[in-house]
Symmetry: C2
Subunit: 554 residues, 2 copies
């Protein structure tokens, strides 16, 4: 068994993850988070919220997973979100054309049969809205689009000031052709995305100073062999395009290491031009090194420019601009049109005023050429350029309308869960015992926060243990009470699922009202008073209290 | 404008809710939760988790929203999750047959045209998994099914002990024919469900005593005009079928009133036989009284019996039983078959042992009749009853296998959000000012927890206010800093979105390092020391500190 198999075996057996619909033979690309996996996932999402919603101040929104066709036509997904698929003419198996390698010599990897011609397959799940099947809906391939379509409401919420950020955590879908990588390649998964709307030519970040000295491992597109460099230097040298991208690369590294991804298994790789999404001008992936799949993407950090807002603006005929005031008003010289009413009046009579207004609305470019055409009440009216005069005026301009650019950090939560399980999974030999599996998940992320054991299920220890359990539960901690099997087996059981602390009630508890707290990683124990146990456990979980100073070492 | 319109106008304007894809004309049944709505929704979900995951101890799972066809064939949804649809032959508009009223005289409500014959329309959104379109997928109509299909894994997680509960919060889908009730009738919405697996003939609840005295307003199915009664008495009189349903009716009432649904606008109505879902033997809806839609369902509490597990067990040929030990072993007398090998041996030769085994596997009922047939290696073999002898033996039986019954409280989170907005929305006249809108949301649910205002944006008050903001934010509070407009307008702005507390930094702050805290509901203010502000704000939000005792009244 390789490490992937060992981790997945444990994950299935202990209730972290399993394939969905197993009793019906399962279907590739769909997995359930079981009782422990779902808590782990939720704790990671909540830590993400601390980073992006609380600290960065990006309000979260929550939109539908079904989108209407117009949205994905404008976004480019109807046209561009495709993979090439190849079908075996013999066995009917389907393959991604770009996954076929030379070793198959152009034949079917399953049966060796002749393969058909590749054709484009759209990776969005398609459905119909309502009973008449006329309205097409797609399951969203990214959470972002309903943030873009609601831009007008969001910019008003933020009182028309740039930059501002909007976050969203939710399910997204990708109808993979033939996913063969277990939990790494899902057809339905959870994304946590932030869409940050910035001024198009002001991509300095106000808090860049706080991350400039962070060292990151970069794999730039021309030179994919890695350099260690500070974010500040990388931006200065133009390796990272601007401060906003640099800030979010550093933030992603900070989040991932807090989750428990080891720094030495993390790198940032810039997309080559040929692998960039259709909307991105630059993109860096945070990747982690796994045992079976090598480097896999956990986060993508892209500069989407004004691609999406401009496209929705055109398709929906909606204003997606923000008025940006200059620091000080600018004095601008402009050519102003003066239609000659002495000519237009007699020629157009009642319509003359409308014609004059239409002319004033034209740009200088549109006024060039030998004849000028304007549309009045649906009718084309032709104007001789001679009927127009120009005047040069000086105006004071307070600011201008811009279509914001979008910086997007996009996290794949399911892969982060898997990567965390793999990186924190350890099999170790213990001195006076055989091997133990221990999941070294950071205490603030661990599914079960504290286990409570009576040493024996008699002598009044059970009642005492249940009181401690209840105290901890009242403080909103997720507690597991366990009285079955030897105390050693119970410790092992919780080591394997990453429970950082175990409180044991023994005979001494009945004498002096103290209990032991055992640390998962060091397996050391301290003895503390029962009335302090909640405070100490909370302190150990948050990192405010160190295990060494928590009580009497035993 | 009726109250629904007034609430929705505020909700759209302030960023709670809006229709999805507005720039493309929107599509009925899809709404976005905006920045304030998404937080409100999340806080309600987290309170639900406190009730069901932390306090009841039901572990949460998180499965895909797409399900495969087998699952929904077994669950009965492919066959039974339908509405009758009628199409107007003239204008093509579609209607739910059961929504057509007599006042339309059988004509189209829109154009008066002739209506076609009603036909069944399945309300599940349909899609195809993978490129060959052979595998049908449905968007789940309830979160429950992936809990049922994973029953084997879940019961092992709970170490084969009944009762146990599993919770899930997630999106569900209902392809409504023609939803016309705004945010009340969505095609995609969020459910919070608990599936509680109980012993089929032990539906007493271990903590029933804690709720027996809770008074609830019941509308039983035969007598839909309401009685106030304790849950204990209702179970005793058989109005509520058993303690498990009773316990969860009381728990739902406790949750809904904690969220902020007023008790006097809450009732529990039992489903009539003709409105029960195909899987339920009994169901009570928690309903709330709204201004426009009258009583609407917020929660359904159903006894699904063994319908789902039995059906999946048959369709998937999977074991969905739990071995339940008796309190003490039972002594049982049984008839045991003894095939006469002296006869079977010569007759069936090599097959004799297989025939004997097949006979032993038959029940007593199957052994009655003049001839007995068993299937050996696909062939029917006929046995004369005379070749069999019986023996009466006494056995000690430790327990038996049962298929658990399922009790299911199922919450519609989106409707709870709307109901809370409507019930907490108040327009009131204030003494020295014109009307104010105030959203009286409970402090622990309110989207923004505390606003911070410098009285003026000069004299160093801004810096001081930003320090207070930062202090509060470090304690994971959602803070809004606001310095624009008069202080009165800022208070009003936050009253309207339900912010329970506002901290104001004024000139006195510079003198004695105190700030004011203003209460949204009473509009009273207290003055407290800056270094106490975090503790007092947290105490006020959790209800541990009362406003009266929080500082010096001003």
């Amino acid at each position: 068994m390789d490490k992937y198999e060992r981790v997945i075996e444990m994950a299935k057996r202990r209730g972290f993850l399993w394939q969905s619909f197993e009793i019906y033979g399962a279907t590739a690309g769909f997995w359930d988070f079981g009782p422990l996996g779902a808590i782990l996932k939720r704790r990671i999402e909540n830590l993400w919220r601390e980073f992006y919603v609380i600290n960065e101040g990006f309000y979260e929104v929550d939109g539908p997973t079904i989108g209407i066709e117009d949205v994905f036509t404008a976004s480019g997904h109807v046209r561009g979100f495709v993979d090439l698929v190849v079908e075996c003419k013999k066995c009917g198996e389907m393959f991604r054309a770009d996954h076929l390698t030379e070793k198959h010599n152009g034949g079917c990897p399953e049966c060796g049969g002749v393969l058909g011609d590749p054709y484009a397959f759209n990776l969005m799940f398609k459905t119909a809205i309502g009973p008449d099947s006329k309205r097409i809906g797609y399951l969203r391939p990214e959470t972002a689009q309903n943030i873009f379509t609601a831009f007008g409401r969001l910019v008003r919420f933020y009182r028309n000031k740039l930059p501002f950020g909007v976050a969203q955590i939710g399910k997204v879908y990708r109808n993979e052709i033939s996913p063969r990588q277990g939990v790494i390649r899902l057809r339905e998964f959870t994304q946590a995305e932030a869409e940050i709307f910035v001024h198009p030519w002001e991509k300095r970040h106000p808090r860049f100073g706080s991350v400039a000295d962070t060292v990151v491992r970069l794999y730039p597109k021309e030179k994919q062999d890695g350099i260690n460099i500070t974010v500040g230097e990388a931006v200065e040298k133009g390796i990272i395009a601007h401060q906003f991208l640099g800030y979010h690369i550093a933030l992603a590294q900070s989040f991932l290491t807090d989750v428990g991804i080891p720094l030495e298994k993390l790198r940032f790789r810039q997309h080559r031009v040929d692998e960039r999404a259709h909307y991105a001008v630059d993109c860096w992936d945070a990747e982690t090194l796994t045992d079976r799949f090598e480097w896999i993407e956990l986060v993508g950090i892209a500069d989407r420019t004004d691609y999406d807002l401009k496209s929705h603006s055109e398709h929906a005929n909606a204003d997606m601009r923000v008025f940006v005031s200059y620091d000080r008003p600018k004095t601008v010289e402009q050519l102003v049109i003066k239609p000659d009413m002495g000519v237009l009046g007699p020629k157009f009579k009642d319509m003359a005023a409308k014609v004059a207004d239409a002319l004033k609305a034209l740009s200088i470019d549109q006024l060039r050429g030998e004849e000028i055409a304007v549309k009045i009440d649906g009718k084309i009216v032709r104007i001789d350029p001679k009927w127009i005069e120009y005047e040069r005026v000086t105006e004071e301009v307070q600011g201008e309308y811009v279509v914001p650019h979008i910086i997007e950090p996009s996290y794949g939560i399911d892969r982060i869960v898997y990567a965390l399980l793999e990186h924190s999974f350890e099999e170790e030999c213990v001195e006076d015992d055989d091997a133990r599996i221990v999941l070294r998940i950071p205490p603030n992320i661990a599914p079960i926060q504290v286990a409570v054991f009576p040493l024996l299920s008699k002598d009044g220890l059970v009642e005492c243990a249940k009181r401690v359990e209840s105290l901890l539960r009242q403080n909103k901690l997720l507690v597991d009470y366990d009285e079955s099997g030897t105390i050693g087996r119970r410790y092992r059981r919780h080591d394997e699922i990453g429970t950082p602390l175990a409180v044991t009630i023994d005979h001494q508890t009945l004498d002096d009202d103290t209990v032991t707290i055992r640390d998962r990683d060091s397996m050391e124990q301290v003895r503390v008073r029962t009335d302090e146990v909640v405070e100490i456990v909370c302190g150990l979980l948050s990192g405010d209290v160190s295990f060494e100073g928590a009580g009497t070492r035993i």
